[in-house]
């Protein structure tokens, strides 16, 4: 019984040591500084194509690697990346006519970090015939 009691005391000491381990520290502050969000998004529907334009502050252009253009399918709340652009205009072509298309745009800085996406803008695309 004495030996067993010593084992119990050893187990208690081991328990104290194992429970003393703490988790890692929480990272302090928010580490990311996203690029500004594009503004004045405008979508103009054409014949089986839509032209997407937006504005971006000139002061922030130097730190931008590219703009990302997404098609937004509202009924599924789904985003699909359809292309990238170095300038503030993008043409989405070879579309099926007589349908509405919605888009969102975001800016990506030179490190590859993507800023907030714009609200969606939609346009009706006409058929070629």
């Amino acid at each position: 019984m004495r030996h067993f009691a010593w084992y119990v005391m050893g187990a208690i000491a081991a328990l104290c040591i194992s429970c003393g381990t703490d988790h890692q520290n929480l990272p302090t502050g928010f580490a990311y500084d996203p690029p500004p969000t594009p503004t004045n998004l405008l979508v103009v529907g054409g014949e089986e194509r839509s032209t997407i334009t937006w504005s971006y502050p000139a002061t922030a252009r130097a730190s931008i690697g590219e703009f990302r253009i997404y098609e937004y399918i509202a009924s599924y709340d789904m985003l699909e990346l359809i292309g990238t652009a170095a300038d503030t205009v993008f043409v989405d072509s070879l579309l099926i006519g007589n349908l509405g298309y919605c888009y969102k745009v975001s800016a990506v800085d030179t490190s590859g970090f993507e800023g907030w996406r714009t609200e969606s803008e939609c346009a009706f695309v006409r058929s070629a015939h």
Partner: protein, 154 residues
């Protein structure tokens, strides 16, 4: 608490404390020595308290490790985020898991201290207040099993 435990341990090691063999039973399993001495109420209290504290400690420890794993995953996702929306979401998740881990760590520590405290008080109780009364019912370990002994006093 630590001082009291050390005093008891030194006493046990030197064999200068009262209580005899029952102390070793209480040291091994809180309340067992008291029960052997016939103090079933005190023994049940120590044993029940110790079981409750250790059960709480075990559950809190499992949940704590689970929360830490979730926190580590959220932290990794946050640190590797390439979209501000994902970074904000993961930052929130990371904070939630951190708070959860902190709470569980507190519960775990409280349960651990409670378990150690109950154990130490139980041993002190045997050292200081162990009476030499004959137990009406006692259980003792033997080489090949346990011996249950009943006695009548007049």
């Amino acid at each position: 608490m630590v001082l009291a435990t050390m005093i008891v341990l030194c006493g046990l090691a030197s064999g200068e404390v009262r209580g005899g063999e029952n102390i070793w039973y209480s040291t091994a399993v809180p309340g067992w020595g008291q029960m052997r001495a016939g103090h079933y109420g005190r023994g049940s209290l120590f044993m029940g308290g110790e079981i409750a504290a250790l059960t709480t400690l075990m559950i809190a420890d499992i949940q704590y490790h689970r929360a830490v794993e979730q926190y580590d995953r959220a932290k990794a996702s946050y640190l590797h985020a390439t979209y501000i929306g994902d970074a904000v979401d993961e930052y929130g998740v990371m904070h939630d898991r951190w708070d959860s881990a902190e709470n569980l760590h507190g519960i775990r520590e409280t349960a651990l201290y409670a378990a150690i405290g109950i154990w130490a008080v139980n041993v002190l109780d045997m050292v200081l207040f162990d009476s030499k009364e004959e137990a009406p019912l006692s259980i003792s370990a033997r080489g090949d099993g346990f011996l249950v002994t009943g006695s009548l006093s007049f």
